[in-house]
C-alpha cells in the first residue's frame, strides 16, 4: 500500500489521465446504452466529474474536490488553470475569424449586459436576504458575476470575510448551474451556432462554466463562447469595485 501511495504521489498526472480516460469511456457507454445518445457522453462525464468533486470534498473536507484526496491529487494539475487555458486556446484552431469579427460589437455589448445583469441579480437576492450596506451588496453582486470577481471586489472595498466567502460560493454555484444547465437548455434558446455562442459566453462569463457547458453541448461552439467569456472576469473586476460600487453607494 505504501509503495502504491508513493508511486501515485509521484505519478499523479499520469494516473489522472488514466482515471479520466476511464470516466470518459464509461460516460460514452452510459450515453449509448441508457439514454440512446440523447444526453451527450461528454455531458455525463462532466456531471460525473462534479459528483466526484462533491464526494472528494466530503471525504477530505478540502476546497479542491477530488484533488484533495491524495490518491487523486493529479486531478489538480490536469484540471488546473494552466492545462485548461492551454487546451482552450487550442480550440481556436477550428474557429472562423470571419464569424468572430462579425459578432464583435454584439459580443462586447453582451459582455457589458452580462456583467450588469448578473451584478443586479446578485444584489437583488442579497437585498431580499436583508443586506442593506453598499459594501456587502456590491460584493455579493460581484460574486454573482464569477467567483473570481467576488473576492477581488470584496477585498478592494473592504467587505467582511463572511460576505466574501458567500460571494465565492455564489460564483461557484453559478459555474455549476451553467455547466449542467447549458446542454439541456441549448435547444430552447437557439444555442446552436457560433454567433449565439459568443453572446452566450459574454452574458454568462464564468469561463469554467461556459467552456464546460459548451463542450457538453457541441465542442465546435467552445472557441466562440470561450473567446468572449475570458474577457468577462477582467471586465467584472474593472467595473464592480469602481463604477458599480459608486452607484451602489449612491443608492444605499
Amino acid at each position: 500500500m505504501e509503495i502504491l501511495n508513493k508511486f501515485l504521489d509521484k505519478n499523479g498526472l499520469i494516473f489522472a489521465f488514466l482515471v479520466v480516460g476511464v470516466i470518459v469511456y464509461g460516460s460514452g457507454l452510459i450515453s449509448k446504452k441508457l439514454t440512446n445518445h440523447k444526453i451527450p457522453g461528454s455531458a455525463i462525464a462532466i456531471i460525473i466529474g462534479l459528483l466526484l468533486a462533491y464526494l472528494g470534498g466530503l471525504y477530505s473536507g478540502g476546497q479542491k474536490g477530488l484533488a484533495d484526496v491524495p490518491l487523486f491529487s493529479g486531478f489538480g494539475l490536469m484540471g488546473g488553470a494552466m492545462f485548461r487555458d492551454f487546451a482552450v486556446v487550442s480550440t481556436a484552431l477550428g474557429a472562423s475569424l470571419l464569424v468572430m469579427r462579425s459578432t464583435g460589437w454584439i459580443g462586447a455589448l453582451s459582455l457589458l449586459l452580462g456583467t450588469l445583469l448578473s451584478f443586479l441579480g446578485g444584489v437583488g437576492v442579497a437585498l431580499l436576504w436583508g443586506y442593506t450596506d453598499a459594501v456587502s451588496l456590491t460584493t455579493l453582486g460581484a460574486g454573482a458575476c464569477t467567483y473570481i470577481v467576488g473576492p477581488v471586489t470584496g477585498a478592494a472595498i473592504g467587505a467582511s470575510s463572511e460576505v466574501i466567502a458567500l460571494s465565492i460560493a455564489a460564483g461557484v454555484v453559478k459555474t455549476i448551474v451553467v455547466t449542467i444547465g447549458t446542454p439541456f437548455i441549448a435547444k430552447y434558446i437557439g444555442l446552436n451556432n457560433p454567433h449565439t455562442a459568443m453572446i452566450f459566453g459574454g452574458l454568462m462569463g464564468t469561463t469554467s462554466g461556459v467552456t464546460a457547458g459548451l463542450a457538453a453541448t457541441d465542442p465546435k461552439l467552445v472557441p466562440y463562447g470561450a473567446l468572449t467569456a475570458t474577457f468577462y472576469t477582467g471586465l467584472g473586476c474593472l467595473m464592480c469595485p469602481s463604477v458599480l460600487y459608486l452607484l451602489m453607494r449612491m443608492a444605499f
Binding site: 470534498g57 468572430m100 445583469l117
Partner: protein, 128 residues
Amino acid sequence: MIIYGVALLAFCYVVGQLVGEYLGLLIGVDANVGGVGFAMLLLVVLHDWLHKKGRLDLPTEDGIYFWNQMYIPIIVAMAAIQNVKLAVSSGLVVLLAGSVPVVVCLAVLPLLSRLSKPTSKRPYGNSE
C-alpha cells in the same frame, strides 16, 4: 514535427496571457484581462498566415489538434476539482445569488441573438 505545433500553441498562450496580465496591471485590475482571448486570436491569425504561406505540415497541425482533442478530458478533470461541497452546503441565499443571474441572462440571450442577426449569409446555417 509535432513539437512545432505544440510550440506554436505555447507561443500564442504565453504572449496572450502576458498581454492579459500587463493589461490588468495597466488598468489597475487584480486579474488577467482576457489573456486567453488574446491568445486565441493570435493563434487564429498566425495559423491562417502560416497556412497561406504553406509552412504548416500535418504533424505540426497535429501538435495543436492533440490539445484540441484533450480539451474535454481536461474539462472533466476541472469539473472534478470544483468546490461542489461548498455550493451544495451553502445556504439558499448563495444558491439563489448564483442561479438567478443565470436565468436572467438566459432570458435576454434570444433577444440579443435576434437583434444582432447578421444580414449577410453566414457560414453556419441557423435553422429556426
